[in-house]
């Protein structure tokens, strides 16, 4: 297998085969909490991509120096630094979005996707593979967040990205903007992905 094919495979694994949310069931907390609308979901997704990239790059570069008993501490230190940078940047340049996302940006520190990729990929692979893995996993996470947020925002408010998309006669489903809407929609999405993969297999 050529190097390019291998990198493509790594990237697209994050999008579908190993999608962190829809296949690995990681990162469920932000998936349920920040998907009432597309804007916060996209901001969360981009923040996670930044943190994943930062963490994978640092861990990959230091992988030969990492001693087994301090590696988790090192991962946590790296992730916490990246999350704090993302949090400060949002507060400085997107204050409304920072307020809307509330505690969920700082909570990226405990997102299993980030530490999972540091352990499973970046600590064992070179820089290029780690970067591609971070981009693939981050894109897969962002895509899943945006799909769930799109369904919820359209049904809860009749809008998509704050733009009206439903006819005037549409009656908004308030429940879709609430946690119950997140659980039901995510359950249906997971079921759909399982059916598609069963058919493929």
């Amino acid at each position: 297998m050529s190097n390019e094919t291998s990198l493509n495979k790594t990237f697209f694994a994050g999008i579908w085969d190993n999608n962190p949310v829809l296949r690995l069931l990681l990162g469920m907390c932000p998936m349920l909490a920040v998907t009432a609308a597309v804007k916060p979901a996209l901001t969360m997704g981009l923040s996670v991509i930044f943190v994943l990239l930062f963490s994978n790059i640092v861990v990959s570069l230091l992988r030969h120096q990492l001693k087994p008993h301090v590696r988790i501490l090192m991962f946590t230190l790296t992730i916490a630094t990246a999350v704090t940078i993302a949090d400060l940047a949002l507060k400085a340049y997107l204050p409304d979005m920072s307020a809307a996302l509330g505690p969920y940006i700082p909570l990226i520190i405990v997102n299993c996707i980030i530490i999972g990729r540091a352990e499973a990929c970046a600590s064992k692979n070179g820089l290029v593979v780690s970067i591609i893995d971070a981009l693939g996993m981050g894109a897969g996470f962002t895509l899943a967040l945006c799909v769930l947020a799109s369904i919820r925002e359209v049904l809860a408010t009749g809008k998509w990205f704050e733009m009206p998309v439903m006819p005037d006669a549409f009656v908004p489903w308030a429940g879709m903007g609430m946690p119950v809407g997140a659980f039901i929609t995510l359950g249906l999405m997971l079921g759909l992905v399982a059916i598609i993969n069963k058919k493929k297999a």
Partner: protein, 214 residues
């Protein structure tokens, strides 16, 4: 300790943890630098948000100046919340009211409010929500402004600065110390009323002590 480990425990500790210590110093420096660079902008954003919310409550105000830098308010369980009271001035520099930020525990998270009070500190000018994570469709109705059809916030416009009570039934249009709760969000409504009761009168007392009120 195995044979491969050096006899000097300090040397052994440094061998095992140098990377962690160096990284902590580097990352700490990076964060300190970014914080130093961005903190004026973050502070400016917070001030703008406060001014926008407080300006919406005290409509004659054009500027807000710090009047009381620190007023520690007892919020129970041995904790205090430090309030900064700002005076609202109109175009001619006359006092038109007071504004401050206070905080209470809501249903899901802390509720941060901006409160406006008239110049005599006798009547409220209303409140705005600086931050809350209350339940969408229920508790988050506290964030709906009067001009957007909210029924909870208008109850605090012209309300006397006194001990407030919460009631589940009543006429929300009647302006007095009885606040009518949001249906389905009693906990959030209680939290707002409790926050007002916790802060309003103690702040008035502190301002009187400081000679800011007659």
């Amino acid at each position: 300790m195995s044979n491969s480990q050096p006899k000097n425990p300090i040397l052994f500790f440094l061998q095992q943890s140098w990377l962690l210590m160096v990284s902590a110093i580097l990352f700490g420096t990076l964060l300190a630098s970014l914080n130093y660079a961005w903190s004026p902008k973050i502070k400016n954003n917070e001030t703008n948000k406060f001014n926008a919310l407080a300006g919406g409550l005290l409509t004659d105000a054009t500027t807000f100046e710090t009047a009381l830098k620190s007023a520690p308010i007892d919020i129970g369980k041995g904790k205090t919340y430090d309030v900064q009271v700002k005076k609202a001035l109109n175009r001619n520099g006359n006092l038109v009211g007071w504004a401050f930020v206070c905080e209470g525990s809501g249903f899901a998270d802390k509720i941060k409010l901006v409160v406006g009070v008239d110049a005599a500190f006798e009547k409220m000018a209303g409140f705005g929500v600086l931050g809350s994570n209350e339940t969408p469709g229920f508790g988050d109705k506290i964030t709906i402004k009067p001009e957007d059809g909210g029924f909870f916030q208008p109850q605090f416009i012209g309300t006397p600065v006194a001990e407030l009570t919460l009631s589940k039934i009543g006429n929300p249009e009647k302006i007095d110390s009885e606040i009518i709760a949001i249906s389905g969000a009693t906990v959030t409504s209680e939290a707002v009323v409790k926050t007002f009761n916790m802060f309003l009168l103690p702040i008035k007392e502190k301002m009187t002590e400081e000679g800011l009120l007659q």
